[in-house]
Amino acid sequence: MIMNKPLVAAATKPLILAILKRGENYGYQIIQEVRDISAEDISWSEPMLYPFLQRMEKDGLIKSKWKVVDNKRFRRYYRLTDLGLAELEEERAQWFRVQAVFSRLLEE
């Protein structure tokens, strides 16, 4: 099941926040993790993630830092800020709320 685009777009931010909550991470790895966990249901146009990360950083949700890893390979790592953590909680509450309403509706 491939999820539709608007839903994926809406979920991008909370997903990134959730992944970064586990610890700092870089773009390619974020993409891979989402892909693995969702069993490829969620697929991004991969390079588009990068401007998105920038926007999040500009909004103060995450912070980035260049690192040299392995031998001389540059990678930009992102980690969650306090604001980002709060945002994640907020997002989570909202998604659960939607989910609760949704399942209540279907039960009846």
Partner: protein
């Protein structure tokens, strides 16, 4: 051999072109790319495959640069600076300024452009107005949507004969029997009536007799009196304002008396507003139907189809159901009517011919036609395709041709001028204009010009409408232009014209490559072929119109000057109305005493239009074959008075008692259908339209109807007692004096009836007036078309001459003479005009041959018309071009070469 580093370097190069992707972004993206490739290789792909796959992700990520821009922008959303805005108000004003400046700076071109387009649009608008006018007939009634006319299909030997008349008795019964019918009214044309108020007496042919419900169903508002009660009293009359003024002057005539046919007084009960011209129900006065009873008409009978019946339905959707019910009713009543007359019924039983005729009347089909459709779709007779509907297709076609020619002009001139604007386009592109915005600019310019032209066209229409009205016999008003549909139409014509005319320049100019244009290499040559094609089309259409006009004019002349088969000069006829037919014998005797009168005879129908017809039969005729024959009741001396020569036999002679109703004079068509010749037909017996008799003479064919239709078999019978028209031949010479003598004779016999007469000439002129009008409109439109085409050619020629200024200068320096330069410049145009001739000739031939099929007597499509049209257009084209080429040829070469 694939080299990853090299491939990545290449990739980086293309990525750098993306705006808003900064170095940091690129580094991050590169690291992503490398991770991805590494990952894929680990999963078993080759390095090259892995790279291609990773690269694909970027191909999919369209708009990456916009996302980066937005990620960093202060505002969410927003337009990156490198994307063209959808709308730039500042530039828009600049476009308008440039368009207006162009018009100001190139007055001649602007004039040619706008005038040409305006003329074309004025033609289109006039036709649009006209079509709208024809569609507007009888739509002004408040109940227009539910009003219908009852029509019938009568079974005829060769198909169904469609009539619009119904029996008197129908209306009342329809209303009583069919619940879907809300109201019904009859309308009858009682013919000309003599209306008198004291000394004021006129023959009125605009009086109609209607049921009181007529004024309820249709909208004819009253100025004085009450329409509810106006026609209740059989002795009342409702007159229009015009008629009221004619008899009563300014005062209120309600309550005053008029006398009809010197016998029947009627009291004016109401004054109605004049009926609009776009109504087929036009009348000058209305009498109650019951009035006709006083004149001896049985207004309840079912026997014959004599009057028109209108119904108002409860709702539109019921029409089909009503058709069926009406047909059942009409058939039952037709049967009853025949049975109720014992003598008739006996004849039907015994005579097979009468029986067949009866059976044919037994089955009329009645149907409703919406009143609003009558003007355009109503017809009478056998063939719904041969109906005399308002055929505006030729005019629409011609108007579209003219408009097309004007559009072509516009496109031609604009593309020609485009070379001069190439630099402007180049510069605009250099400073960042996109193709779309340049195309938009040119579309805008051409629509602006079209709007200017549209305004000019509107002014022209308002100016020329009276002339067009008198030419076409219509009564259109320019007020109709204010109707929202007209406004929409004008706007649509304007914008579409502007758009079509502007498309080529817009697409062509916007395709210029700035680098080449600015280097000075103009793309002018590319449009040359296109322009020539347009010139060919333009002139082809003009030639088509010229030939068409020529053929049409010749056809109309043919009709007008066709030998009628008798001498129509000095021939007049006097309609015998009211009581006057009874005095015909006395009148004839009295008139013949005057030496200025050469002969007197009579007819029962207007002598220029015999219409009564019936079936012909004779011994040995195939009984299943229906032969139509026209029958004329005339007086002795008919052939002598009309000067119709005989081909065989003798004329009618009052010495033979048989000649009173028992003998025929026939025209040459009759022996033809009988399979005889003129000599052998004399002495044969026949039954023509119900009358038995012997043929005593065969007249040479003569036209007793419009020369548009073929001469049909005609039989004449002597019956002076049914005289309705007295035909009088005057001596040549002093016609007014002769007329005076006839008038004196008339008044001596009929002192109560005003003297009225018509010339045969007049009648025939009137018959062809419609054709003449068509011809006139055609000529004007053609002239306009040729004029526009020449305007365009003029513009094009001057542009060409201007472009070749240097070339001409050099040629002259090297010794070319002025004439040779003129030839050089004109040759090209001449060639293309010749090509248009070759294209236009066959189409003109086929179109006109088709058109002529509608006439019984056709003008030949003369070859010289084609040559004339060709030579004419060539001459006009050369004249137009030579004006410019002469100027160019005579110019001082030094000045030409010095420039720039």
């Amino acid at each position: 051999m694939f080299n990853l580093e090299q491939a990545i370097a290449e990739w980086k190069k293309t990525m750098r072109k993306k705006r808003a992707v900064q170095d940091g972004d690129l580094a991050e993206l590169e690291s992503y790319l490398r991770d991805k490739v590494e990952d894929l290789v680990r999963r078993g792909m080759s390095e090259e495959e892995a790279f291609r796959k990773a690269e694909m992700e970027f191909a999919r990520a369209e708009g990456l640069d916009v996302d980066y821009y937005r990620a960093r922008a202060r505002k969410r959303g927003g337009r990156p600076p490198w994307q063209a805005p959808r709308f730039m108000p500042a530039l828009l004003w600049n476009y308008v300024k440039i368009a207006l400046r162009k018009i100001r700076r190139q007055k001649a071109y602007a004039f040619i452009n706008i005038a040409g387009l305006a003329l074309g649009m004025a033609c289109a608008l006039l036709v649009l107005l006209w079509v709208q006018y024809e569609f507007s007939y009888d739509r002004f009634h408040a109940n227009a949507g539910t009003l219908y006319r009852v029509e019938q299909d009568m079974p005829a030997p060769n198909g169904k004969f469609h009539i619009n008349a119904t029996p008197y008795g129908m209306a009342a019964e329809l209303k009583a029997e069919i619940p879907e019918i809300k109201d019904a009214a009859r309308r009858s044309n009682p013919g000309e009536m003599l209306v008198r108020r004291g000394d004021r007496a006129f023959y009125e042919d605009g009086i109609r007799a209607v049921d009181p419900s007529f004024l309820r169903m249709f909208t004819f508002p009253a100025v004085e009196g009450d329409i509810e009660t106006a026609l209740r009293d059989p002795g009342s009359i409702a007159v229009t304002e015009t008629m009221a003024r004619k008899y009563f002057g300014a005062g209120n005539p309600v309550g005053q008396t008029l006398t009809i046919n010197n016998a029947f007084p009627v009291v004016v009960s109401a004054v109605l507003k004049d009926v609009p011209f776009n109504s087929l129900l036009r009348f000058d006065a209305l009498l109650p139907m019951a009035f006709l009873r006083g004149m001896g008409t049985d207004i309840d009978r079912w026997g014959s189809n004599a009057i028109v019946t209108y119904v108002q339905l409860q709702e539109r959707s019921a029409a089909a159901a009503v058709d069926e019910k009406m047909t059942r009713l009409a058939r039952a009543r037709a049967m009853d009517a025949a049975r109720s007359d014992p003598e008739q019924w006996k004849k039907i039983q015994s005579d097979p011919e009468a029986k067949r005729r009866f059976e044919s009347i037994r089955g009329p089909d009645a149907m409703l036609r919406p009143v609003v459709d009558v003007n355009l779709y109503g017809y009478f007779g056998l063939d719904p395709n041969a109906r005399p509907i308002k055929n505006f297709t030729p005019f629409i076609t011609i108007a579209l041709f003219v408009l097309l020619i004007a559009c072509i002009n516009f496109m031609n001139l604009a593309t020609a001028r485009s070379a001069g604007r190439a630099r402007e386009v180049g510069l605009r592109k250099v400073v960042g204009a996109f193709r779309r915005s340049i195309a938009g600019q040119f579309y805008g310019e051409s629509i602006l010009t079209a709007i200017l032209a549209g305004l000019a066209a509107l002014a022209m229409v308002v100016l020329f409408l009276p002339a067009f009205n008198s030419l076409s016999g219509k009564h259109m008003t320019s007020a109709a232009l204010l109707d929202w549909r007209s406004i929409l139409g004008v706007l649509a014509v304007t914008v579409v014209t502007g758009f079509v005319a502007g498309s080529y320049p817009a697409l062509f100019l916007s395709s210029f490559q700035p680098a080449r244009v600015l280097k000075g290499r103009l793309a002018g040559a590319r449009g040359a072929m296109f322009r020539k094609t347009l010139v060919v089309i333009q002139f082809g259409l003009s030639i088509l119109l010229l030939i068409g006009t020529g053929v049409a004019t010749r056809q109309i002349d043919l009709l007008r000057t066709k030998k009628l088969g008798y001498e129509k000069d000095q021939l007049i006829y006097l309609p015998l109305r009211g009581e006057t037919p009874r005095t015909y014998g006395v009148l004839k005797e009295r008139l013949l005493r005057n030496p200025k009168v050469l002969g007197v005879t009579s007819t029962a129908q207007p002598p220029t239009e015999f219409l009564a017809d019936g079936a012909a039969s004779w011994e040995g005729k195939d009984p299943d074959h229906f032969v139509r024959i026209l029958l004329g009741f005339v007086d002795f001396d008919f052939t002598e008075t009309m000067n119709i020569p005989l081909a065989a036999g003798r004329p009618f002679n009052d010495k033979y008692s048989m000649d009173k109703g028992k003998t025929f004079l026939v025209n040459e068509e009759v022996p033809k259908v009988m399979g005889l010749d003129a000599a052998t037909a004399v002495g044969k017996r026949g039954n023509f339209a119900g009358i038995d008799g012997t043929i005593v003479g065969v007249m040479k064919n003569f036209h007793f109807q419009s020369a548009r239709v073929a001469i049909e078999p005609l039989a004449l019978v002597v019956a002076p007692e049914s005289a309705q028209f007295a035909v009088v031949r005057l001596t040549a010479g002093d016609v007014p004096a002769s007329l005076e003598a006839v008038k004196a004779g008339w008044l001596a016999v009929n002192p109560q009836s005003p003297f009225d007469y018509r010339f045969f000439d007049q009648d025939f002129d009137e018959m062809y007036r419609a054709d003449e009008r068509t011809g006139m409109i055609l000529r004007i439109f053609t002239a306009v078309a040729v004029m526009i085409a020449c305007l365009g050619l003029f513009g094009l020629a001057s542009f060409m001459a201007e472009q070749r200024t240097k070339e001409i200068g050099i040629r002259k320096v090297l010794g070319a003479s002025a004439p040779s330069v003129v030839v050089l410049l004109s040759k090209d145009f001449a060639k293309w005009v010749l090509v248009s001739n070759l294209l236009a000739w066959p189409s003109a031939y086929f179109i006109m041959r088709n058109w002529l099929r509608g006439y019984a007597y056709r003008a030949e499509i003369a070859w010289w018309l084609f040559v004339l049209a060709g030579a004419g257009t060539l001459a006009i084209a050369l004249l137009t071009v030579s004006f410019q080429s002469l100027r160019a040829a005579q110019a001082d070469p030094v000045r030409a070469l010095k420039y720039e």
